[in-house]
Symmetry: C2
Subunit: 314 residues, 2 copies
């Protein structure tokens, strides 16, 4: 049974005049998750943020922005279209829509090209693919407009493909507990002081949201062998954080390959972090300066080792 | 304009009692090409083999076997089904059907899994995928049965992705000639004495078939930048050939990555050839011993260098 762990991601920033998104209430966000084909499982909140765990990934709502990640065969573009229709384009300062490297792109219900065809009927915007189609690649759509991001408006994403080793075995075996998963991943240590909400899926899979002030982190595990995937994302400025979060996760999860995506994030800088990464070949990397003040960086890393491939019977 | 250079491949070996396939005549093979969605452009022949250049790749017909490669969005499985129906399963000693790593698998009219679903209605057989879905991979279906391949029944395939350098520029520019392509690829030197048939496509693309005795080689070029692809295949025993064909082609075409597939071929052996290859990481490799006496080897190589990725506007 294959499950596409790779996420689509939608982030929307509202104009200053717009009402608080948090006041839209639970039923609004229930409906939004539903348009994408997901549902809200549980939630946590603090003074700044409502964080929802979804049946397929996560939703974070602040007063003036929200972020939603959905994996599997969800149709996040439909939720984006519904949101745009319900608030009107003039209320949206900035919208970005991403699709990450998928294992089985031909099983998805739409392609990125089809998705942006729909989005562009409502919002003008630029779209890119970085990375080659026969290697890891990443799709990004960003809306046009006068919005300017603050320099400290940063996001760092670490996408890990085909995890290996003892922790991977634990994550792929019965009898896991949420405490056990947090412990093997050192999450309580790396994110001390965060309010967390986590969930173990049947038969396999784990999701966690954590919030502290305006900061969030979210991690999702699809541990199934041969197409395992773990994604981590945060708005913490990791270059100034006391823990080397990416290096720690890579050491623990031993992915065969991984991608790093940063928005105004120095985490992709090899001086800052590459030296801590496991032995690797950085197959390709790219940096795009968006008009709206985001510097978007993408890098695809491959562990420097040969793998004896196991034929998969079909 | 994207064109999927990556090929599907069908090889059929007839039982000794079956009539000569060459006597089926041109109209039969015209129809076969048509079932796949291709057409015959030209042909050459010698005492052993009729070799056809197709609008999408190549067809080689010997008395007791044939081999057809089709690229683009052809439906080679339909030709396979028609062939099986026209000769009957009892006339077929061995059938293999391959699909190579595709750039845009979601644009293909069927998946390998769908193809083998159709094939298995007519012929029992085993099927494998080797290689991970987020890296280069290769699909193979082989029929069951008492057939045993001779040890010298060997095939060597070299699949080159994203060619670079001066020759890549020449192949991607106007004003090419067939002689020019043969010259930059050193084909007349590497395959001296072969009867050849080559073709330049509009706006871009090149195919060549060569035959000598029972030996063949075929090479196909889809030079379009960012998804360029060159495939080479032969039944020459390259380990005993005076030229190091794979190493030469790799040096000339400088692909960012390449795959080697061998059937009873030592060409994948690093002692024989790896030392001649450009600096690389062999990301993964695999060897499968088929009941019918074929040792099938697959290796995925990545050049050992970092690439500054250019965002592709969508």
């Amino acid at each position: 049974m294959f499950f596409e762990g790779s996420e689509k991601k939608l982030e929307v920033i509202m104009t200053p005049e717009s009402p608080s998104l948090r006041r839209f209430g639970r039923s609004f966000w229930d409906a939004m998750a539903g348009f994408a084909g997901a549902r809200i499982l549980s939630s946590i909140a603090n003074e700044n943020c409502d964080a929802y765990l979804l049946s397929e990934s996560s939703l974070f709502v602040w007063d003036s922005r929200f972020l939603v990640l959905t994996c599997g065969n969800t149709r996040l573009v439909d939720a984006a279209l519904q949101f745009i229709e319900s608030v009107g384009t003039e209320a949206i300062a900035f919208l970005s829509y991403q699709r990450k490297n998928e294992y089985f792109s031909h099983l998805q219900s739409s392609s990125f090209e089809q998705d942006i065809g729909l989005l562009r009927r409502q919002l003008a915007g630029g779209a890119y693919r970085v990375g080659h189609l026969d290697a890891h690649h990443h799709y990004l759509f960003t809306s046009q407009g006068p919005f300017q991001a603050r320099e400290d408006d940063c996001t760092s994403e670490l996408l890990m493909y085909r995890i290996r080793g003892q922790v991977a075995q634990y994550l792929n075996a019965p009898g896991q507990t949420r405490e056990g998963v947090r412990s093997v991943l050192a999450l309580d240590e790396l994110f001390a002081g965060y309010v967390i909400d986590d969930f173990l899926f049947e038969p396999l899979g784990y999701s966690i949201n954590g919030i502290k002030g305006k900061s969030y982190f979210t991690l999702h595990i699809t541990p199934q062998e041969s197409s395992s995937y773990v994604s981590f994302e945060t708005n913490i400025d990791l270059a100034r954080y006391p823990h080397r979060v990416f290096a720690r996760l890579l050491k623990i999860l031993e992915p065969a390959s991984w991608d790093v995506i940063g928005f105004n994030s120095a985490v992709n800088n090899s001086v800052v972090n590459g030296g801590d990464f496991p032995g690797h070949l950085c197959v390709g990397s790219c940096s795009i300066a968006l008009d709206q003040g985001y510097n978007v960086a993408f890098s695809h890393y491959q562990q420097l080792c040969h793998e004896v491939l196991i034929p998969e019977l079909l």
